[in-house]
């Protein structure tokens, strides 16, 4: 920490995610090899790469669910259990049990559980925070709906509300746009954009390269190693994309919109 800087200032200046020389895998099979990158606070960052490139493993390591072999992960300057609770998470939709008998409010309240500790129950304050989070994602009137009765877009917004109720600095989203229709995708992107303005950091694993090119501040191009990271315009060049995806991808810059495709 530089001299004359308070702890709070240091926290503010630290990157939201700082990954250094990270290697990880399962049963001797390498999923991530010497991965290094940073994501600044208050930015909407994309994590892109082909299937099996280690995107989900990277998210699991950042969440503290998977122990890496080597390297370190710092979240807003904090390491290990110090970072716990600062990270919100939206899992891939197909990994969520949508038939579980809980309401939208029940799930958002779970965002408050981490800070309650064992045994203690959520109180009026936690309920208020959960309702405020639902309000923030425009789901307040659906708070008593069962999660299985929500539409795809509403389900994703509810999981974002859980991260907001948790007061997470960093929200990890695994394929949040997959399976949504155009309108719901647009709504979700608008919400992510608003949250970025409120100084939340969003780190989004996605297959939608064109969307990252058009809307995101930052991109990490992953294929077990970090092929490139930086502004999408710098990362999404035909050489780098082809190196990551092992096939030729076409980049069509068109002013506001950049199209990426085979």
């Amino acid at each position: 920490m530089p001299v004359g800087m308070s702890a709070a200032e240091a926290t503010r200046a630290a990157p939201a995610v700082e990954v250094r020389n990270l290697s990880a895998g399962y049963d001797g099979h390498t999923a991530l090899d010497d991965v290094t990158f940073t994501v600044e606070q208050g930015c909407l960052a994309g994590l892109v790469g082909p299937n099996g490139s280690g995107k989900s493993t990277l998210l699991r390591v950042i969440l503290g669910l998977h122990k890496p072999w080597r390297g370190e992960v710092r979240i807003v300057g904090r390491e290990g259990s110090g970072a716990r609770g600062r990270i919100g998470y939206m899992p891939q939709s197909e990994l969520v049990d949508w038939s579980f008998p809980v309401t939208a409010l029940d799930v958002v309240l779970m965002g408050r559980y981490g800070r309650l500790g064992l045994v203690r129950r959520p109180g009026a304050r936690d309920r208020q925070e959960a309702m405020a989070a639902l309000e923030r994602v425009r789901l307040a009137d659906l708070s008593q709906r069962l999660i299985g009765e929500l539409s795809g877009g509403e389900q994703r917004r509810m999981l974002i509300a859980r991260a907001l109720a948790q007061d997470a600095d960093l929200i990890l989203l695994d394929e949040p746009l997959a399976g949504l229709d155009a309108t719901a995708q647009h709504d979700l992107l608008a919400l992510l954009d608003d949250l970025r303005r409120e100084d939340k950091t969003l780190f989004v694993a996605t297959h939608d390269l064109s969307c990252v090119a058009a809307n995101f501040d930052h991109a990490v191009l992953l294929n077990r190693r970090v092929v490139a990271f930086g502004r999408p315009a710098e990362v999404f060049t035909e050489e780098l994309l082809s190196a990551a995806f092992q096939r030729h991808l076409l980049v069509l810059p068109g002013g506001e919109r950049t199209l990426v495709g085979p």
């Binding site: 259990s81 716990r84 899992p91 990994l95 008998p101 029940d106 559980y113 045994v119 948790q166």
Partner: protein, 284 residues
């Protein structure tokens, strides 16, 4: 009128029936509460494995001349912990491992019994249940363990809910997920222990599954599902014992069939979700 009252009162004038109904109602309530997690987590196979595995322990205790219930309890709890261990660390499929563990223990039981030349009727009361034979000591033990299980679910409801619904996020939030999962397995194991004497090995599973499944069709959230399931479990115990008394049939079978009857009614008539309800609104 007084004839009806006499009819209703008659079974309970016998002390063994009083003991039976207290034990069976406790088992019905506790099974429904724990069973709610069992059906939501798809753990029904474990609910069948634990009572079968306990037979190995019962037979070992029988051969050693030790307390049979204690033997069964130890075997059920050890199996629960072993299943938890395989689930966390295993390199074989979870259900494959369960199948091997419980059948090994059950077969050990059969092996030991096949070497006994003497009186093995006590062992068979574990297979088919013997609710009419419970002592006041058994009733107190059932009540004590039942209260412990319900208290544990009430205290750790938040952790059980979070871990059951979203184990990844629960772990990331600092909930000790592995411990909670072991804890749930131990609660299922303890429920099996108290249910064994009332229901018998082959029928324990029905009390874990049927009342909770019927309740799931009639409720939306987990707490009312547990409460409704408990009512079904208790009513099944009560009605089953009446049936057993007046029709002179096996009490555990009558209790289970009553519980399955409640499930069938819910399956057919549950508002919005029952089979007949759907028929009415969706013309074939």
């Amino acid at each position: 009128m007084s004839e009806l009252l006499d009819w209703l009162r008659e079974p309970w004038t016998f002390e063994f029936m009083q003991r039976a109904v207290i034990a069976a109602v406790i088992v019905g309530v506790v099974s429904a509460v724990v069973g709610s997690f069992v059906i939501l987590k798809g753990m029904a196979f474990i609910g069948d494995a634990l009572p079968h595995a306990s037979f190995g322990g019962v037979a070992v205790a029988f051969a050693l001349g030790a307390n049979l219930q204690l033997g069964g309890a130890v075997a059920a709890l050890l199996t629960a912990l072993l299943i938890g261990f395989v689930a966390q660390r295993g390199r074989v499929r979870y259900d494959t491992a369960i199948g091997i563990i419980f059948i090994a223990s059950f077969a050990l039981g059969i092996l030991i019994v096949s070497r006994q030349s003497g009186y093995v009727a006590d062992l068979f009361s574990f297979v088919f249940g013997n609710v009419l034979g419970v002592t006041w000591g058994d009733v107190w033990l059932t009540a004590g363990l039942g209260a412990f299980i319900l208290l544990a679910v009430a205290l750790f409801y938040k952790e059980l809910l979070f871990t059951s619904y979203d184990p990844s996020m629960a772990a990331a939030s600092g909930v000790p997920v592995a411990t909670v999962q072991y804890g749930l397995l131990v609660l299922v194991g303890l429920t099996v222990v108290i249910a064994l004497q009332v229901m018998g090995i082959v029928l324990v599973l029905a009390m874990l599954v049927a009342p909770a499944a019927a309740a799931q069709l009639l409720t939306r959230r987990l707490p009312p599902m547990m409460a409704t399931g408990s009512v079904f479990g208790a009513l099944s115990a009560l009605c089953g014992l009446y049936i057993a008394w007046y029709a002179d049939v096996s009490p555990s079978a009558a209790i289970v069939l009553t519980a399955c009857g409640f499930f069938l009614l819910a399956f057919l008539f549950a508002p919005g979700r029952g089979l007949l309800w759907q028929r009415r609104f969706v013309p074939a």
